[in-house]
Subunit: 325 residues, 2 copies
DNA sequence: CCGCTCTCTGCAACCGGTTTCATCGAAGGT
DNA sequence: ACCTTCGATGAAACCGGTTGCAGAGAGCGG
C-alpha cells in the first residue's frame, strides 16, 4: 500500500503539493498536476480514508437504519441508497432496527460517532426521540415527517386517496380499511387520506385494526371483515396477501365478491391469483434521494429537505366493479 | 466531542495511561484504572475510530457483498452478519453486486481499502477471480467453495438429497429437477447430490433448464414439464413458486398430481396454497458465522475456515404420495 | 526599474489515538 | 543495606493524510 509520501517522492514534490494535486487540482500548476497524477497512477495510490477522516472530520460514510430486511419493500431502498453513496464515493453502513425504538435510537447513536450522516427509514421512535437523534449528526428521515427535520416522504397518502377514487369509480360505496400497526405514522396518514376522500364522496368507511402488518394478521382480518363490505384496502402488502389468502380459503371470490387493494408496493402482488391492485411507489428513488440530500446537508449545500415523492395507482386483477352495479 | 486528551486531563494522568486504561486494563494499576474509567464516563468519551484505525490499521468494519436484496433469502443473512458485527463492536458495510461478476470484483476491491475483511455471499465470479480478490484483505465466501479460501457453506446439497429421499419414500420414481442459473455453484452441487441419490435408488431423474431463478421462469417451466413426472424439485423458491402458479393455472393439482419441493428456504413458501415443501436453512447463522470467523482470521486467531452448516427437510403440503400408489 | 500582486510550492503543525522506550519507585532476594 | 526485578507511568514518536502560513518567483502597472 503506497502512501501520499511515496507519491510525493515519486513525483519529486512535497506531500502538500501531492495532496493538493489530488484534492484541489485548481491550486496546482498544470505540469505539476499531471506529474503527480502520473506518479499516483504508477503506484496505484489509494488515499487512506482513516487518515483523511482524521483531519477533515469526514468519514465518507453514511449510516442507514432500516426496520427490517425481511420485508422486500426495503430492498430497493437500500439499493438506491447504496448506488447514490457509491456514485459520490461514499460508503453505506447498514443496520437493522427490527422495529424497536430503543434499538433504533441506540443504532443511530452508535452510527453517529462514525459516519457523516444517518438515513433513518420508517422510524418507530417518538417525535421527541427523533429530534434528539438529529442533533449529533445530520439525520434524514424516510417516510416520516417530524417538524423541520430533513425528510423524504413517499406519498402513499395521496396514493391511497387515489386508490379510493379508483374504487369509487368502480361503484364501491362500502369500503373497509385494514389498518396497520398502532402508532404507525404512515398508517395514520393513509387512513386520514382515505377518510377524507370517502367522506367527500358520501360513501361509507369502516376500519379494522390496528393490526400487525403481517400475512397472518391479514388472514385473521379476512375472517372478521364486516358484512356488506364491497372493497378492502389494506395498510400494506402483507396484510393484503393474508386477506387474499383468507378470503379465497373462505370461498369469497376476489374481485367478484370483494375488491382488494394494498396501499403500498411489492412485486409479489403481481404474482398472486388474482394479482393485487396496489400502488407504484418509487422506493429506490427514495433511497437514492435520501442519501444525496443528506450529503448535501453535510456539505452545507442545503439546509433542510422536505421531499414528497408521488405514487400512482397500479390497477391489477383484484379490484373490479362493485357487486350489483 | 471529548478526546482522549480530555479524559487524561480530567483524570490527571497522561494520554498514554488513559489509552491503556481503556484498551489494556491489565497494564494499569487498579485505582488509576477506575479513575480513568470514571473520567471517561463523566465526559461521555467515545474514541475516534478514524484515529484508532490510523495507528492500529484496523478499521473495525467488515464489508458485506450480497448479490441482491430483492430476494428475501438474503435478509436473515444480512441480519445475522450485522448482529455478529455489532456484538464485537464492528460495523457492517453493505454493497449489492446485482449478480454481476465485474461489479462484485469492483466492490470487493473498493471495500478492501476500507475494511478489515470482506464477506462475499454467493459470489458469481470465477474461481480465479475470487482467489485474486482474497489477497488484499481477509475474504470469506458464503455458499461457495474455492480451494482453501475461507468459506461458510449452507449444505443445501445434502438437504436436496434428503428432499429426494423424502420423495422416494412417498413412492416417487420419476423426478424432475428444475435447475437454476447456468454456472451456479450451488445449482451444480444440488443437482449432483440429487443425481447420486436417485441413481442409488434406481429411480429416474430428468433435468429442466438451466433457467433464471425467477418466478416467471418457474411459470415457463410448468408448461414444459416432461410428461409422467410425479415430482418436481426446483433449484430455488422463486422457481418453485412459479411452478406452483403455472401448474395450478393449468389445472394440475399439487400434490395430488404432482409433488413439488424447493431446494432452499423462504418463508413465503409457507403461505401459498398449498404450502411448499422445502428446506430449513440456517441463513442467519451463516451470516453471523461468516462475520465471526472473518474477524478471527483478521485477528490471527484462525487461519482458515471451512464450515458446512446442515439443512433439514421441511415437509409441507406440496409433497404427497405418488399417484397410483 | 521598482514594488506590488498573484500563483505556486514547501515546511510544519495538526487531527486523535496507540505504542515504544525510558524512568521511577517499591518489593524481593542475599 | 545493596542490587535486581518488576510493575506502573509518562514523554514522545508515529500512523497518513490536510491545511495555514510563509516564501519564491513571475507578471504587471506605474
Amino acid at each position: 500500500m503506497s502512501t501520499l509520501a511515496d507519491v510525493a517522492r515519486e513525483a519529486g514534490v512535497s506531500k502538500a503539493t501531492a495532496s493538493r494535486a489530488l484534492m484541489r487540482p485548481e491550486l496546482v500548476a498544470r505540469p505539476t498536476l499531471e506529474n503527480v497524477r502520473a506518479a499516483a497512477a504508477r503506484l496505484g495510490f489509494q488515499p487512506n480514508r482513516a487518515a483523511r477522516a482524521l483531519t477533515t472530520g469526514r468519514t465518507g460514510m453514511v449510516g442507514l437504519v432500516v426496520p427490517t430486511l425481511a420485508n422486500p419493500f426495503f430492498a430497493p431502498l437500500v439499493l438506491g441508497a447504496q448506488r447514490a453513496a457509491e456514485e459520490t464515493d461514499n460508503h453505506l453502513l447498514l443496520t437493522v432496527s427490527e422495529y424497536s425504538a430503543e434499538r433504533e435510537a441506540a443504532l443511530v447513536a452508535r452510527l453517529s460517532e462514525q459516519v457523516d450522516g444517518v438515513v433513518l427509514v420508517a422510524p418507530v421512535g417518538s417525535d421527541a426521540a427523533l429530534r434528539e437523534l438529529a442533533d449529533r449528526r445530520p439525520l434524514i428521515l424516510v417516510d416520516r415527517r417530524v417538524g423541520r427535520l430533513p425528510a423524504v416522504v413517499l406519498d402513499t397518502a395521496s396514493g391511497t386517496a387515489a386508490l379510493v377514487r379508483h374504487l369509487l369509480e368502480l361503484g364501491h360505496r362500502d369500503i373497509v380499511y385494514v389498518s396497520g400497526p398502532p402508532g404507525s405514522w404512515a398508517d395514520g396518514r393513509r387512513r386520514a387520506a382515505m377518510a377524507e376522500q370517502i367522506e367527500e364522496a358520501g360513501a361509507r368507511l369502516r376500519v379494522l385494526g390496528p393490526l400487525p402488518p403481517t400475512f397472518d394478521a391479514g388472514i385473521g382480518a379476512a375472517a372478521e371483515l364486516p358484512a356488506g363490505a364491497g372493497a378492502v384496502v389494506a395498510y400494506n402488502s402483507y396484510l393484503a396477501l393474508g386477506l387474499l389468502h383468507g378470503l379465497t380459503a373462505a370461498g369469497v371470490r376476489v374481485p367478484e365478491d370483494v375488491s382488494l387493494a394494498a396501499a403500498d408496493d411489492l412485486t409479489a402482488l403481481g404474482a398472486t391469483v388474482p394479482s393485487v391492485t396496489a400502488l407504484d411507489v418509487p422506493v429506490e428513488e427514495a433511497g437514492a434521494l435520501a442519501v444525496t440530500r443528506l450529503l448535501e446537508v453535510r456539505d452545507g449545500t442545503r439546509r433542510t429537505v422536505r421531499t414528497l415523492l408521488p405514487t400512482r395507482v397500479h390497477p391489477r386483477e383484484s379490484t373490479g366493479r362493485a357487486p350489483g352495479r
